[in-house]
């Protein structure tokens, strides 16, 4: 059964096309991440689902019924804003209780629910605090509690961790993951950060320039990007212009650094992705690259190298334990044949 269904949404601002035919479904209890660079239209899509904006074309359905014309306050959705949008004239209690008040809950019913919410986000005892004196992380938690309190049918997040520093972000991603799973909340999470999207979502919708590039579980997106854009956005950086030809009964991609046997059902111009994470040092195996070790950077769990092959610099992530020659020396890398190569037809 689908909960939320987004069908062929178009939206433009003046001459700028923000959204061009977006469609996807969300199942009950599912966490969907909208991932894309800034300006790709993901936040606009969120506003349209929330009812803060109307689409030019297309519709949003909730359990089969169209939401067209239903104002945001009657949709029963929650939205956590990027800048939190906490009410500056209310304390923590009044902010979190706002949605419950709007639902006409009695004070007796609000109080335990509020304590529960503040406890959930780790802010027990903060009821009377002035919003303006809270730190960024605390404000973020209040915003989360405020969005959760009215038990929305669908909870949306608009880059909620964007304004926080890295370590705080790491911690909050974990907290958020726990909370969303525990409450079994249907959620849409907008972000430009692939780590956040992968860590939180059941499915990821990658967007670019107002269109959907790929939809799938995080692992699928990462292991099998469908377009060069997705590959690039995920920092799978080795994209080479290629030409696909027939050779010895198979297909071969000709590139500036050599020819690679590939599976392709078409001929002609294409782009070849050599995955940085599917190589190991050594000259064994069917696919070996020879080049000069141009540079090296140690990243802890892995070491990133730049290999110069016939004048083209390729990036590879090798295990930290791999023994490497000094910089400037020749070295060989063997590629895993089934994972390392991916071919995209030139559009």
């Amino acid at each position: 059964m689908t909960h939320l269904s987004i069908q062929n949404i178009h939206k433009s601002f003046g001459r700028a096309h923000a959204l061009r035919g977006i469609s996807f479904d969300v199942a009950p209890g599912e966490i969907v991440a909208l991932l894309g660079p800034s300006g790709c239209g993901k936040s606009t899509l969120l506003s349209i689902i929330a009812g803060l904006e109307a689409p030019d074309q297309g519709q949003v359905f909730w359990e089969g019924a169209s939401l067209a014309g239903i104002p945001p306050h009657r949709r029963g959705f929650g939205l956590m804003f990027q800048d939190f949008a906490l009410f500056p004239h209310m304390d923590v209690y009044a902010n979190v209780a706002f949605g419950l008040r709007m639902a006409r809950l009695a004070n007796d019913a609000i109080r335990p629910r509020l304590a529960e919410m503040l406890d959930l986000v780790g802010l027990a005892g903060f009821e009377g605090r002035d919003i303006n004196t809270l730190s960024g992380g605390e404000q973020q938690r209040v915003a989360l509690a405020r969005a959760l309190a009215p038990q929305p049918r669908l909870l949306m997040f608009d880059e909620p961790l964007g304004s926080l520093d890295r370590s705080l972000r790491e911690r909050l991603i974990g907290d958020l993951h726990d909370i969303l799973r525990r409450l079994h909340l249907t959620s849409i999470y907008v972000t430009h950060d692939q780590q956040e999207a992968f860590a939180l979502a059941d499915r990821v919708v990658v967007m670019n320039a107002g269109q959907v590039e790929q939809i799938g579980p995080p692992q699928e997106i990462y292991c099998a990007p469908r377009t060069p854009f997705v590959a690039q956005f995920l920092e799978l950086a080795n994209l080479l212009p290629a030409d696909i030809r027939e050779q010895d009964g198979g297909r071969v991609a000709h590139t500036a650094i050599g020819s690679f046997p590939i599976d392709a059902h078409w001929l002609g111009p294409a782009q070849l992705l050599i995955r940085p994470d599917a190589a190991q040092p050594g000259a064994q195996g069917p696919l070996v690259l020879h080049g000069t070790l141009q540079d090296l950077s140690f990243r802890g769990s892995l070491q990133r190298i730049w290999l110069n092959v016939n004048g083209t610099a390729l990036t590879f992530d090798l295990p930290s334990t791999a023994a490497l020659p000094p910089i400037g020396q020749e070295m060989a890398l063997s590629l895993m044949p089934h994972q390392a190569l991916q071919i995209f037809q030139q559009s």
Binding site: L46, S47, A50, H73, A85, M102, G136, D158
Partner: protein, 580 residues
């Protein structure tokens, strides 16, 4: 979501400009009628004396040695006062900006009190502390058995300077301190890592970054000192006259309106130029580089050095603040010498007589209302000022807050600040000159005073409304809607409370400014309807302990009302960045 900046979401700019014009209609009409028209009349009066060569009389007046000396003294005392105020205020600004300590909020609130304190009350307070009959002199005389008061404070330049420092330190604390408190301390630390000594880091990095804030504060302080009136009149005595005081003498005592007009014009030229520069500068303060929240920039007093600094600064601030005001309050309930009246001879000591006498019309005069009536009159005028200032200021502030980048708004914004740089005496003179004949004959109308007070309060009302109105972002409306609030609930729970607090702050400013305003009121108040400052001035001008005591009693009442007002403002502010 950044849809706020996307083009399709806003109404067309033509439609917006039309709406904004509508908002500006009443405020502009008000400024036109009661600010530009009176000032134009002064201009005309000043130039109309010599038919043939219209500027000759004006130039002759302002280049006479006497006026040049006057101008020299006015500029000199203002410059000296400004420097002293900065020297006194900057360490305080540093302390408040960079450190977190117990009692800081209270100290900050208290330091705001002098700013709205009526000049006459400040003058009376220093008189009560350091004057011939002030506590210090009385104490020294008693201690060393002197016949004459040893400290000559009243009628000296020092008195003027000290009162100006007292009066304007809060401007430096607020303008520089606010900016400083949001300035990233890592910038200074970065300089030290690059090899700068703490002093070099301060001089080369922090001070240049602070310089727009310091310059803005200095300019505002200079403008206020330049147009200082009550302080000079009461503490400076007859030996000292600034342009402002001379305008008043010429208009009221000598009834030489053309000369007064020429002097006003000279002063107006100076202050308007300064105000325009100030508006530009404070505009730059609005978008400074990478401001950080306060929790990030402030530390506790952990080193003995910082504790010493805090101790000295806090003691100095409290001393400057509480000593004169405390002296005033105490003196208003103390009788120093035996006095004879209807009830017989009264012994020296604590007494509430000065307060009791306030409701008695001792002169049996028709024109002199008893002082208690003056309180009622002042409160009435203040109420009218609040109504006027809010109903005119709200639409203008709304227009400024909602469309800050509209060309129309950017042009009109500095215009609203002009009354700030126009001396109150000049305004009063303009009212006398312009509004005494048809089409606008308001000579006999009580409205003149609230109108003048509204002009004086207008910049403050605008500057406290705009930031608060800006805080009402469309995002808050969306957040409320997402939490299930229908449009009416959004209005009730979001807009009205937020606007309401801003209105309360603005109203308090208008109220306290109206209560304390003296310069314009001194010129246009009708004798039978004196305001409290006018009544204080009258009492100060009359001999006798009872009159002096009553002046101090009235001052104390005014001090209590205005302090309550400013403390209320401190509590009601939402964002911690205010523009005054």
């Amino acid at each position: 979501m950044n849809n706020g900046s996307k083009p399709g979401l806003k109404p067309s700019s033509a439609k917006r400009a039309g709406l904004v014009w509508l908002l500006w209609l009443a405020p502009l009409a008000f400024l036109g009628l009661f600010f530009f028209y009176p000032l134009g009349s002064i201009l005309q009066l000043s130039f109309a004396r010599d038919e043939g060569n219209w500027a000759a009389a004006f130039i002759q007046t302002i280049t006479s040695p006497y006026v040049l000396r006057l101008l020299g003294f006015t500029v000199g005392q203002a410059a000296l006062s400004t420097l002293l105020t900065l020297a006194f205020g900057l360490p305080g600004a540093y302390l408040l900006a960079r450190y977190q300590f117990r009692g800081k909020a209270l100290l900050q609130a208290l330091s705001g009190i002098p700013f709205v304190m009526p000049t006459l009350v400040v003058a009376a307070a220093f008189n009560a502390l350091l004057g011939t009959n002030g506590w210090v002199n009385l104490g020294l005389m008693a201690l060393f058995d002197l016949a004459q008061p040893p400290i000559q404070f009243t009628n000296t330049l020092a008195a003027i300077l000290v009162a100006h420092v007292f009066y304007n330190t809060s401007i430096v604390l607020r303008t520089v301190g606010d900016f400083w408190s949001h300035l990233d301390p890592r910038l200074g630390q970065a300089a030290q890592v690059l090899g700068a000594t703490p002093w070099q880091a301060l001089r080369r990095v922090t001070l240049p970054l602070l310089s727009p804030a310091i310059a803005a504060a200095a300019l505002l302080v200079f403008i206020f000192d330049f147009t200082s009136f009550g302080v000079i009149l009461v503490l400076g005595g007859p030996r000292f006259a600034t342009l402002e005081v001379e305008i008043y003498y010429q208009a009221i005592n000598l009834f030489n309106l053309p000369t007064a007009a020429s002097l006003s014009l000279l002063q107006l030229g100076c202050t308007l130029a300064l105000t325009i520069i100030y508006t530009r500068l404070s505009g730059r303060l609005a978008r400074p580089l990478g401001l950080r929240p306060r929790t990030y920039t402030q530390k506790r007093l952990l080193t003995w050095r910082s504790r010493l600094l805090a101790g000295v600064v806090v003691a100095a601030m409290l001393g400057l603040l509480t000593a004169p005001l405390g002296a005033l309050a105490l003196r208003s309930v103390t009788r120093l010498e035996p006095e004879r009246n209807q009830q017989g001879t009264q012994a020296p000591g604590l007494t509430l007589d000065f307060y009791r006498q306030l409701s008695i019309n001792r002169r049996q005069s028709l024109f002199y209302a008893p002082p208690a009536t003056a309180i009622g009159i002042s409160l009435g005028y203040a109420g009218a000022t609040v109504l006027l200032a809010l109903s005119l200021g709200l639409p203008a502030a709304w227009a400024l807050a909602r469309h800050p980048h509209l060309l129309l708004n950017r042009l009109l914004d500095p215009l609203l600040m002009l009354p700030l740089g126009t001396s109150a005496v000049t305004l009063g003179l303009g009212f006398i000159v312009a509004l005494d004949e048809p089409p606008l004959d308001l000579r006999a109308s009580w409205l003149l005073i609230p109108l003048a007070h509204t002009l004086v309060a207008f910049p403050f009302v605008i500057r406290s409304l705009v930031p608060a109105l800006r805080a009402i972002r469309p995002r808050l409306h969306q957040a409320a809607a997402m939490l299930g609030a229908p449009p009416l609930a959004v209005l009730r729970y979001i807009d009205i409370p937020l606007v309401g607090r801003a209105l309360l702050v603005a109203a308090t400013y208008a109220f306290t400014i109206s209560l304390g305003e003296f310069g314009a009121t001194a010129l246009i108040a009708r004798p039978e309807f004196p305001t409290v400052p006018v009544a204080i001035y009258r009492f100060l001008g009359q001999p006798g302990g009872l009159n002096y005591g009553q002046a101090l009693a009235l001052s104390t009442i005014l001090m209590l009302i205005t302090s309550t007002g400013i403390l209320a403002i401190e509590r009601l502010r939402i964002a911690d960045v205010g523009e005054f």
